[in-house]
Amino acid sequence: MFDLLHQPWSWYVAGPVLGLTVPLLLLAGGKMFGVSSNLRHLCAACHRGDVEFFRYDWKSAGRWNLTFLAGTVLGGFLGGFVFANPDPIQLAPSTIADLRALGIQDFHGFVPDDLFSWSALGSFTGLAVLILGGFLVGFGARYAGGCTSGHAISGLSDLQLASLIAVIGFFIGGLVMTHLLYPLILS
């Protein structure tokens, strides 16, 4: 049991457990699983101006989801700190070779220190990844009306055509970034 908590889970165990989030939230209170709405709720909570998009009762709409988000942070602490896996991620050798060729040197944790450290903020690459990457995730998720959880998991689970179109968009963007833009950014 203790091993199960420390070891990484294989995809065929993790996938079904992840999928259970959808029925758990529906049965808990008829809630639809989607993380990025919380970014809107947080904007609405801090909002003092007159942007219509943020003028709604964020407390009654978003309290449950913000609580869920607090749980996500706690789950990250338990799964990634308390019961952290001490070994590097078992990546495909071809991915490691590609990334080494692009100059990535640290393969120890969940993210490479080369890009994800406070000192990386002093470099163009670090700024692009942490600031531009985050900005596009926030902007794109709201523009598309959902992120990986809301569209790829919830939306596809409910057979929504809109979500399928959004997921195709996710992949167009992801492939362009990975194969065309990232080599330029890292060079």
Binding site: V22, N38, G75, L99, G173
Partner: protein, 141 residues
């Protein structure tokens, strides 16, 4: 919401965050691997999550199950006529997802795991969300 309600959503969120870490989907490396088609890992996880989600949504709809409070469960459909927003918004999101190597759930889970610099993408994602709110009327939907 009373204490039990908060505890309920906190628990489901904790399970979600825990699985995100244990499945390594929070990893920038796994996202790189996925967009290079080098491993089944991410596709297997998302695919199986969707299958479980789909089966449970079908069961909930067919049997007209009620939630814990006894209220009927209704799932509002998304407006699939707004094609530009899904393609354009989706593509911008995908560029950000591959660049940062994390989508909203993983950003927060990584922050919880002690990678404090993830506070920066939390703030920039909030800025991106705010920018969308400002520009919404001028964007094609």
């Amino acid at each position: 919401m009373n204490f039990t309600e908060y505890l309920k959503y906190l628990t489901i969120g904790t399970l979600f965050g825990f699985v995100l870490m244990k499945s390594e989907v929070v990893s920038w490396f796994r996202i790189q691997e996925m967009f290079r088609f080098d491993s089944i890992h991410m596709y297997g996880i998302i695919g199986l999550a969707v299958i479980i989600g789909m089966l449970s949504v079908q069961i909930i709809k067919r049997w007209q199950l009620k939630d814990m409070h006894g209220n009927p469960i209704s799932i509002p459909p998304k407006d699939s006529s707004q094609v530009p927003r899904y393609i354009l918004g989706g593509t911008l999101f995908g560029i950000g997802w591959a660049l940062l190597g994390a989508c909203p759930g993983p950003i927060f889970a990584l922050l919880g795991s002690g990678i404090t610099v993830m506070a920066v993408p939390v703030l920039s994602a909030l800025a991106g969300t705010y920018a969308y709110g400002l520009l919404r009327d001028r964007l094609p939907h």
